[in-house]
């Protein structure tokens, strides 16, 4: 009874320390962006294999605010209290990352279901992949790791997108949701990111 109360308030304090409220506007913005761009709105960006501009779906960029906010929440810590606490926050942090990516996937799936276009489903996969590489890079790069998400998108657009047809496999993002290799790569990156997060949760940044 008593330990249950402690666990409950512990989670609340953890949520307050991580400032989880910030995820609400971020996910709302994400939902709005996915809804606006699921129909295939694309922006002409310069791409190298095409030697000119290619239409890049705006959907490709929607994960960035979510991943950035997730990282910000994970960075909001009470370093002294957490370093000396009996109970580790690693489980809660890992669960947070999983939950955010799950909500993003859910939003993508819901938009796809309501609109009948399948493009939005893939945005959950893209979110998980970008979150995975950013989480992997946090111990060596610190807060700057979050810039890996836009940097990856820069590399994909500049070097990955051909003028027609699907992008090469290594881009991972920008494929259809059913493509097996990008899905596997995303799972690997995300699991790696979670394990790095769980290990570094007590000490990082």
């Amino acid at each position: 009874m008593r330990s249950g109360t402690v666990r409950g308030t512990g989670i609340i304090w953890w949520g307050k320390a991580r400032r989880l409220w910030a995820l609400v506007p971020a996910l709302a913005a994400f939902t709005a962006l996915v809804t606006l761009s699921h129909a295939g709105t694309s922006v002409p960006l310069l791409s190298f294999p095409a030697a000119g501009t290619v239409p890049v779906p705006l959907l490709l960029f929607t994960p960035v605010p979510v991943v950035a906010t997730l990282v910000w929440c994970l960075d909001n810590r009470l370093p002294e209290a957490e370093a000396s606490a009996v109970r580790s926050t690693a489980v809660a942090d890992t669960a947070l990352a999983v939950a955010v990516c799950a909500v993003a996937s859910g939003v993508g799936a819901a938009v796809a279901l309501l609109s009948g276009s399948t493009a939005a489903v893939a945005t959950g996969r893209d979110t998980a992949f970008l979150a995975g590489i950013v989480l992997c890079l946090r111990p060596p790069a610190g807060q700057a790791a979050v810039l890996a998400a836009p940097a990856w998108l820069f590399v994909v657009v500049f070097f990955g997108l051909p003028s027609a047809g699907p992008p090469p496999v290594w881009t991972v993002v920008g494929h259809s949701a059913a493509a097996p290799i990008p899905l596997t790569a995303t799972l690997l990156a995300f699991v790696a990111g979670l394990s790095v997060l769980a290990r570094s949760s007590r000490t990082s940044v």
């Binding site: 922006v43 605010p65 991943v67 810039l147 820069f154």
Partner: protein, 429 residues
């Protein structure tokens, strides 16, 4: 802080390899090289690599400025040293970031200039100044966003937002957004260059927003006054940018005839682009021969300038020859082995911009006969009448007029020619 320690502590240093690799790789692999045939036209050589740099340079500058601003905020610099000028504090962290943006713009441009052995010209460098100024403006905007949002969120979001916002307007059906986006994305043709009027709206929009945000940091005592000033400044910049551009088409106002030329003679002075060299002598001979032929036939022509129209870019054909200035396709004519024909056709200058085709054609037939270029004109006319019954009818009527004129005594034919040109612009059209 000292120069070197400021540079070493800036995020621009570790972002530099990534940000500079992209434009350099783009250039080295050929994507952003000026398209062949490359001529010695600085504006064209500069605009090709620049086309690829704008969005990247602005996005990098804005994101890193947001990052640096967030670092200042986390360190509490403003609270620890409230007496220091806010502008100075901002400038000290923003110059390495702006410098990186400038390098992203300048490195591929310098590579292109060195590669093609072209000296930069004032008109050719104008878009570069725009890009440099806007890098600074985007640094200010990024800095302001970094003060509002945490840097971990502001930096990646600004990178994407600026990148997309600068690149997006080109795909709009409405033309004016592309003239204020900050990127001068017009493929310059040989001889063309940007006008200041075409670049100003870009600067007005982004520059006024940056200036308004910077004004927020001025210590103006009354909040209402400050807010009013900020809003007025931003509104003035954006509305004047819109007012300037809302009536433009997809092409902004451009300069023509900016390619270096070589000329010979006077009255008329004959000019061809230097890059297409070798054509000057035959062109000059053709012009003088055509003038002599007309003279012998009794029509005295006195152009002051005969200039190749290849340097007109997309304006070619919209500025017809006048009695004073002829614009034949001299180089193309020399290459096709018919310089006298192209000059003779431009020598027929009716006194209006849109002459009637029948009378003009009759006058052209007469000019071709006088200068001995019948064969070329006939070949041209035959090609044009293929599958075009309307054109064929006009040609037949012009031919009939020309034949009637040929039966006139030689002395009255010049008068007929002048009359025909007047008819082309008058009641007979």
């Amino acid at each position: 802080m000292r120069f070197r320690s400021r540079l070493r502590s800036s995020s621009a240093l570790w972002a530099a390899p990534f940000s500079l690799a992209i434009p350099v790789l783009y250039y080295l692999t050929g994507a952003s090289r000026p398209a062949p045939p490359v001529l010695d036209d600085a504006a064209v050589v500069i605009s090709a690599p620049l086309y690829y740099s704008y969005a990247l340079a602005y996005a990098v500058t804005s994101a890193l400025a947001a990052w640096e601003s967030g670092r200042l905020k986390e360190w509490g610099v403003r609270d620890r040293a409230p007496a220091r000028s806010r502008f100075r504090v901002a400038a000290e962290v923003l110059w390495p970031v702006t410098l990186l943006g400038w390098l992203v713009v300048l490195v591929p441009v310098v590579m292109a200039l060195v590669d093609h052995g072209v000296r930069p010209t004032e008109t050719g460098l104008r878009p570069v100044w725009l890009a440099l100024l806007l890098c600074a403006a985007h640094a200010v905007i990024g800095f302001a966003v970094g003060r509002l949002l945490p840097k971990v969120v502001a930096a990646p979001v600004m990178a994407i937002v600026v990148w997309v916002a600068v690149s997006f307007p080109v795909s709009f059906e409405t033309a004016w957004p592309r003239h204020v986006s900050g990127a001068f994305l017009t493929d310059l043709m040989f001889g063309e260059a940007a006008t200041y009027r075409a670049l100003l709206p870009h600067l007005l929009l982004t520059g006024s927003i940056a200036a308004a945000l910077a004004l927020c940091w001025v210590r103006i005592p009354h909040a209402v006054l400050r807010t009013g000033l900020v809003v007025c400044l931003a509104a003035a910049g954006t509305t004047s940018a819109y007012a300037m551009t809302h009536s433009w088409g997809y092409d902004p106002p451009l300069l023509a005839d900016q390619a270096p030329e070589v000329c010979s003679g006077s009255a008329p002075r004959v000019c061809v682009p230097r890059a297409l060299g070798g054509g000057l002598r035959p062109a000059d001979q053709a012009v003088r021969r055509v003038l002599k032929d007309f003279d012998e036939a009794g029509v005295r022509l006195a152009p002051r300038l005969v200039e190749d129209d290849v340097t007109q870019g997309r304006a070619a054909g919209f500025r017809p020859s006048t009695p004073d200035t002829w614009r034949p396709s001299l180089t193309a004519g020399v290459r096709a082995g018919q310089p006298r024909y192209v000059v003779a056709m431009e020598a027929v200058t009716p006194p209006c911009a849109r002459p009637g085709r029948r009378h003009l054609m009759a006058a052209q037939l007469w000019a071709a006969r006088v200068t001995g270029t019948d064969r070329e004109l006939r070949a041209d006319l035959d090609r044009r009448r293929q599958g075009d019954p309307e054109e064929a009818a006009v040609q037949d009527r012009a031919e009939a007029e020309f034949r009637a004129a040929r039966r006139l005594p030689a002395a009255s034919q010049p008068e007929w020619y002048r009359h025909e040109l007047r008819l082309a612009c008058g009641a007979g059209r």
